[in-house]
């Protein structure tokens, strides 16, 4: 029953001890992120025309039109958002654009929203991180 084991697997395992590991320490070494990654959206309030198309088309019903200084603007609830970017594609004025920011983990729900009055620029972390 215990015959000689297949050599390749043994060689592979023995030599793996001397190779660099495939995993790396995440918060200290960040992975290289491709530019097409669908991260948090960026909102440009000056371009918004309050048509409400983004809120109507969102499959996850994650966008809510809120009143900001007299105009209706989208508030994106990032905890419901599925990052499908239908809102980005369908916006007629390109008021929502893409970014590759993905570190959205947070300890309070309040910070998990993209508010139109304070559109965070790319790369800024959400509060509570």
């Amino acid at each position: 029953m215990r015959r000689i084991k297949m050599p390749q697997m043994i060689v592979e395992i023995a030599s793996a001890v001397f190779k660099k590991p495939f995993t790396f320490q995440y918060p200290f070494t960040k992975p290289k992120v491709p530019e097409g990654l669908r991260g948090r959206q960026i909102f440009h309030p000056e371009r918004c025309i309050s048509c409400g198309l983004c809120a109507r088309d969102c499959p996850a019903e994650a966008i809510e039109m809120v009143e900001v200084s007299g105009k209706k603007m989208p508030l994106i609830h990032l905890d419901s958002c599925i990052f499908c970017y239908i809102c980005v594609e369908n916006c007629p004025r390109n008021a929502l654009t893409e970014s590759t920011f993905y570190e959205l983990a947070s300890t309070n729900k309040e910070s998990l929203a993209l508010r139109p009055e304070k559109p965070e620029s790319e790369g800024e972390a959400t509060e509570g991180e």
Binding site: M1, R2, K5, M9, I10, I13, A14, A16, V17, K19, P21, F22, T23, F24, Q25
Partner: protein, 331 residues
């Protein structure tokens, strides 16, 4: 009696030293296994993750300790601690820094004493699973019994080989007789001993008693909090015990060339290095094998390993005079 016996029992080379050694071996085991699988292993807690096992135990101590309603409460609470203690006690009998903890050279026959103690400890592990009254624990406990009873026989038979070569059953004598390690002189016994040891320690390929994917966690399913910490400590102590036994019987124990006084420092260093070497070897076997089914394990034992162990002892006895001549010891 040595005046500082309490120091020896409690601190060095006693309880505290062994505790640190067990944690270190746990870290080493995980790190080497991770490297063999091309990943990092523990790295975040402390430099190179060396504090990871300690962090795990502290975490376990802070968790809720649940006793299931139908479990036998007395046995359930006591068996983890007893198994851990017995394993620890059996390591005390080894000459860790040249002389064993109780500061004599052991007694004739302490090899058998140690093996008997370990059988007891395994029995208590079985009891811990049995008293949990959970079908998964029950199946795991029964498998442990089947496995260690079966493989205890080739283990003991293979352990007789070095005893025969050294001419005594005292661990200190066996260790000190090895000018050339017995692993090189009687490699057949060494390999069989490792196989039987792997089965005793329930590592892959003999992982059956706590095969996670089949019966959750085997005998340890119902434990949580402090009791789980003890069960895991018992498991780690078991591995260190196995490595210590192998190092003493086959690799020459703590003895080796001494470069400066005090000799016990060097003996300890050699001992730890040999223990780590054995652990690395066991982890290597674990990494390259899948898990065998229980009927394969049992059948393999009675049809292959035990007869092979008997044959190896016969071979050792027959070649003993020549080996002793080679070693330069009196026949």
């Amino acid at each position: 009696m040595n005046p500082n016996i309490f120091f020896r029992i409690l601190v060095f080379p006693g309880f505290l030293f062994l505790f640190v050694l067990i944690l270190f071996c746990d870290w080493f085991e995980r790190k080497i296994m991770a490297r063999m699988q091309n990943r990092m292993g523990p790295s975040y807690t402390g430099p190179f993750g060396i504090l990871q096992p300690l962090a795990d135990y502290i975490k376990l101590l802070t968790k809720e300790d649940i006793i299931p309603h139908h479990a036998r409460q007395f046995l359930f609470s006591l068996t983890p601690i007893i198994s851990f203690s017995i394993f620890m006690l059996s390591i005390f009998c080894f000459p860790l820094d040249g002389i064993n903890v109780f500061s004599n050279y052991g007694f004739e026959g302490d090899l058998l004493f140690v093996l008997a103690l370990v059988t007891f400890a395994h029995f208590f592990l079985f009891l811990s699973g049995w008293s949990s009254s959970n079908p998964y624990s029950g199946i795991g406990a029964v498998r442990i019994l089947m496995q260690f009873i079966g493989y205890d026989i080739p283990l003991i038979i293979s352990a007789i080989g070095p005893a025969f070569l050294a001419g005594s059953l005292s661990l200190a004598k066996i260790a000190s007789m090895q000018t050339i390690p017995f692993a090189l002189l009687t490699p057949w016994t060494f390999i069989l001993f490792l196989v039987a040891l792997q089965a005793e320690l329930e590592e892959d390929p003999f992982d059956v008693p706590h095969a996670e994917t089949e019966i959750v966690a085997g005998y340890g399913t119902e434990f949580s909090g402090r009791k789980l910490a003890f069960i895991r400590l018992a498991k780690d102590t078991q591995i260190v015990f196995g490595a210590v036994l192998t190092a003493t019987l086959f690799l020459g124990g703590p003895y080796g060339p001494v470069f400066s006084a005090p000799p016990s420092l060097w003996f300890t260093i050699y001992f730890v290095l040999k223990v780590l070497f054995v652990i690395a070897l066991l982890e290597f076997v674990e990494a390259i094998c899948a898990r065998l089914r229980i009927d394969h394990v049992v059948r393999g034992n009675w049809r292959m390993i035990t007869p092979a162990a008997l044959l190896s002892v016969i071979l050792t006895v027959l070649s003993a005079p020549y080996i002793r001549l080679f070693m330069g010891a009196p026949i």
